[in-house]
Symmetry: C3
Subunit: 162 residues, 3 copies
């Protein structure tokens, strides 16, 4: 893109994990997502750890989007096939416009590394002026998926602010 | 396909653009889509320019599909991240059956040219005997995306007429 | 995956075809899907032939999933553009969580063979502890699509049983 980027990316990272939210496991995925976001000019407002609870996930996305606290909300975890994996459903509950191309690109790139990437049920979409992106829960999966789209995010967020 | 194509493709092109609908900008995308449709045996019934208004877009798609005026309705514009980009939502409002493979193929081909193609939120689907296809608003994006699927359209439209 | 697979794959194959259900055509796709499932440790519980009837398809998926008779329900047929092709819609009626990556991977692999693969409207998703996968109706299309994902299925089904 020739256009200069105007908007600063203000990111919130939501780690979705029952065990990490109970303190039984240290959250490594959240910090690794923050590390990957250094690829673009961005500020990580906060990393929050939540249990795999559909309404709680939806509430926190709404909170950060609707109060203008973030224009990028990245979740990590809860995108798989376990009965408790409900992050995509929570995301669909709150997005107003879907952005399927970002999820498709993440999976396509990730499938070059492992066919199990096809099991990611990640959803991406827009609520107000915030972009929401689901990533898998593993440190490696989260970074690989985010790396596939990270450079398109400043332009996307700039358009949301129009 | 070995099967001979029976149905003539009758296409309507809807250019979705606030500025073009106000006459502040000449519509170049609509005519370039018409040009690309020459790759298949087809007749362009009309090119219409509409503002980025969700219910107006939905109404015009319904009008052309339900009155048998077209079996292919191609929109250009309104598939991005700006707050006024609502063409995919208008399309979802009226389609009865989604055809995700066409949107996936357009984005996959387009991403080979630019990663920003992942930001296209285009939707494809069926209403009655009409196929609806969203394309991006830029002349180049519209042509590249349509080129990725244009040769599959006669067969698709033939099946709709069964 | 390093993890050992615990759950046995118990598959039901639903052939969706008006003509085969009326006995006017022999079902070749169902048996060919069973053949392809030999690539993984699995048991085919039954092959059933159904007409292209949306509520009947939905009912049978519910029956096999909700009674624990199968953890994998593979449909073949009804994924195209004919007015009677309603398998994806029936599948959406009953799944609780979508698994778009499996459908994307099947189409991406199939498109390497023919661009007409973009016309598959197949949907994949989860109901309870069962995974539902739509395949095209042609013997060749069904096998090619299933081959693209079959090796990820034991891991997916293992996660569902957690």
């Amino acid at each position: 893109m020739a256009t200069a980027i105007q908007e600063m990316v203000k990111a919130v990272i939501l780690t979705i994990s029952d065990s990490a939210s109970r303190g039984e496991r240290v959250d490594l995925s959240g910090p690794s997502v923050a590390e990957e976001l250094k690829a673009i000019r961005s500020e990580v407002v906060t990393i929050e750890v939540l249990p795999d609870d559909r309404s709680q996930i939806a509430d926190r996305i709404r909170y950060y989007a609707d109060n203008g606290l973030a224009n990028l909300i990245v979740t990590t975890g809860g995108t798989g096939f376990s009965p408790r994996d409900l992050t995509p459903e929570a995301t669909r509950d709150v997005i107003e416009r879907e952005a399927p191309g970002l999820a498709e690109l993440m999976r396509a790139e990730s499938m070059k590394i492992t066919p199990l990437a096809a099991l990611s049920r990640a959803v991406c979409g827009i609520r107000g002026r915030a972009l929401i992106i689901n990533l898998p829960g593993s440190v490696r999966g989260a970074r690989e998926n985010l790396a596939a789209v990270v450079r398109t995010l400043p332009h996307a967020i700039d358009l949301l602010a129009e």
